[in-house]
């Protein structure tokens, strides 16, 4: 009973203090002499509602790019991580290739890579080589993010104590079966939060396709901004990105907490 009451009291204190700080902030910002100017330039209601349909329409390009990239990155990143984890000397070339791959694509700025691939490769005018900006944006994101994701996987695999694989092998599971049924399921569970961080980054980086001339959400916002000399469409775009990413982070927090509870909570 006392516990419940003190929890309610805690919530009340949190609500009151948050409201207090928020009100102070609002007064401080609102009373600033340049606030009306900033509000008109960045938070104009009319520009918000007129830009929303355009920006949302363009955002579908970001979503397509994000979803396609993610579908490709998840398995490719895992394959690279596995290639780097192979200890068999016969597979040394594969391991070396995977190492160079991750070093290179984690080290190169994505904006540079998309520029070189998107503008440079089509200029070679090789027969059969696509020149669509969307394609090259996808290639860039997959190359870069599968390098990041492979490192996340690898950290996850290496965080599983070797005794787990030994126990699986002792039961007569092959190396692959031990990986598949014992090491990976535990590793993947651990990498969900860092993986999701990378995917939030990926989602934001879909705006890079705009460099190649594709009118996605960010570019559409820039067009509207330049047409009217008002920055509100950029805020509209930011809001759309946040509407997608914030629930995603909360969901993962929930999943992780649930997972911990299931493993510690015991029998049912």
């Amino acid at each position: 009973m006392t516990a419940a009451r003190s929890a309610r009291k805690g919530t009340l204190v949190a609500v009151v203090s948050t409201l207090f700080v928020a009100t102070l902030l609002a007064i401080a910002i609102g009373s600033s002499p340049s606030w009306p100017l900033v509000q008109k330039a960045f938070f104009d209601g009319t520009y918000f509602s007129t830009s929303l349909p355009d920006v949302v329409g363009a955002f579908f390009i970001n979503i397509q790019l994000f979803v396609l990239a993610e579908i490709l990155i998840l398995p490719i990143g895992l394959l690279i991580a596995l290639a780097r984890s192979i200890t068999n000397p016969a597979f040394a070339p594969l391991r070396i290739f995977a190492t160079i791959y991750t070093d290179f694509f984690r080290g190169v700025p994505s904006i540079l890579l998309i520029y070189v691939l998107g503008f440079g490769v089509p200029a070679l005018r090789l027969p059969g080589v696509p020149k669509e900006p969307f394609f090259w944006a996808l290639v860039t994101l997959v190359l870069i993010y599968s390098a990041y994701v492979s490192e996340v996987y690898r950290a996850g695999i290496e965080s599983i104590h070797p005794s787990q694989e030994r126990a699986a092998r002792a039961l007569g599971l092959t190396r692959f079966q031990a990986l598949r049924f014992v090491v990976l399921p535990q590793a993947l569970r651990r990498v969900v939060p860092p993986l999701l961080n990378d995917f939030i980054g990926l989602q934001k980086d879909t705006a890079l396709v705009s460099i190649l001339g594709v009118v996605e959400a960010f570019k559409q916002a820039q067009i509207l901004k330049s047409a009217n000399f008002n920055f509100t469409p950029l805020m509209t775009t930011a809001l759309i990105f946040l509407v997608i990413t914030i629930p995603m982070t909360r969901l993962v927090d929930r999943l992780a907490a649930k997972d911990r509870a299931a493993q510690q909570g015991g029998a049912r």
């Binding site: 092998r169 002792a170 039961l171 007569g172 092959t174 535990q186 493993q263 510690q264 015991g266 029998a267």
Partner: protein, 261 residues
């Protein structure tokens, strides 16, 4: 050599180690070990830490390649480098000191994994076998519990059930009670006694001398990677011939087994 307790021990050896040597770098951990294990026989390995008991078990389970000698299972020469070493390992069950249960699987799933994946049983058949084993080890009520929610003794019994799930010819046990709270040890030893009575063939490395005396058909005393002396529990504990065996047992009696870990 082997003393027949209340059961019949077949003449043909199930597991046979001949002149097995193992090095870690320059250290010779096993030095020409000869050891045979007949069907239904229970052999206990005793000796101080570092005497080579754990290494012997891991080599016997083909988890570590050996540097010299040979290992035969049911008369067939086997090696960790064999292409079918995985298959051989299914015929040998091993339980480690640290339980190494799979934390992402329930007790039932831990036990059913190898039958399903390594032996290729249907999920239903594997689960049926796992339930029977958990029941046999007194864990029927804990089938759906995750390892984290089980006591050490319960976890170790799940590990034993898991090792038995591939119906191994030999069960190898590596100091499985030494990480346990003393009050939980009894549970596990009781489970092993029941297995011994049921006719399981076991090679047990242990510090529990009373348990060894009770359950073993034969005791091997190891020191410096060699079998110094072996014989019936009565002989080893009652009238050890070798001075080193006597010295070890004297130390055990004076300081207690736990100090030797």
């Amino acid at each position: 050599m082997a003393r027949v307790k209340a059961k019949r021990i077949a003449a043909a050896p199930v597991l046979e180690l001949r002149g097995v040597s193992k090095r870690y770098g320059r250290a010779l951990v096993l030095d020409k070990i000869d050891l045979t294990l007949a069907e239904h026989e229970v052999v206990c390995l005793i000796g101080a830490s570092g005497s080579g008991k754990s290494t012997l078990l891991r080599c016997a389970d083909l988890l570590e390649p050996i540097d010299a000698g040979s290992i035969a299972l049911d008369g067939r020469a086997v090696s960790a480098d064999d292409r079918d070493a995985d298959e051989t390992r299914r015929q040998l069950g091993i339980v480690f000191q640290g339980f190494s249960l799979f934390p992402h699987l329930t007790a039932l799933e831990n036990v059913a994994l190898a039958p399903r994946v390594a032996l290729g049983l249907t999920p239903t058949a594997a689960e049926k076998r796992a339930r029977a084993l958990l029941k046999q080890l007194g864990l029927a009520a804990k089938a759906n519990a995750y390892p984290d929610s089980l006591s050490g003794g319960q976890q170790q019994r799940v590990a034993i059930a898991r090792a038995l799930a591939t119906e191994p010819k030999v069960l190898l046990l590596d100091e499985i009670t030494s990480a346990l709270d003393p009050v939980l040890v009894a549970d596990v030893l009781e489970a092993l006694r029941a297995l011994a009575k049921g006719g399981a063939t076991m090679l047990i490395a242990t510090h529990e001398m009373a348990f060894a005396a009770d359950v073993a058909d034969r005791i091997c005393y190891l020191e410096g990677g060699r079998i110094i002396e072996q014989g019936s529990p009565e002989k080893i504990f009652g009238a050890p011939r070798d001075a080193r065996t006597r010295a070890f047992l004297k130390r055990v009696r004076s300081v207690g087994a736990s100090a030797l870990r």
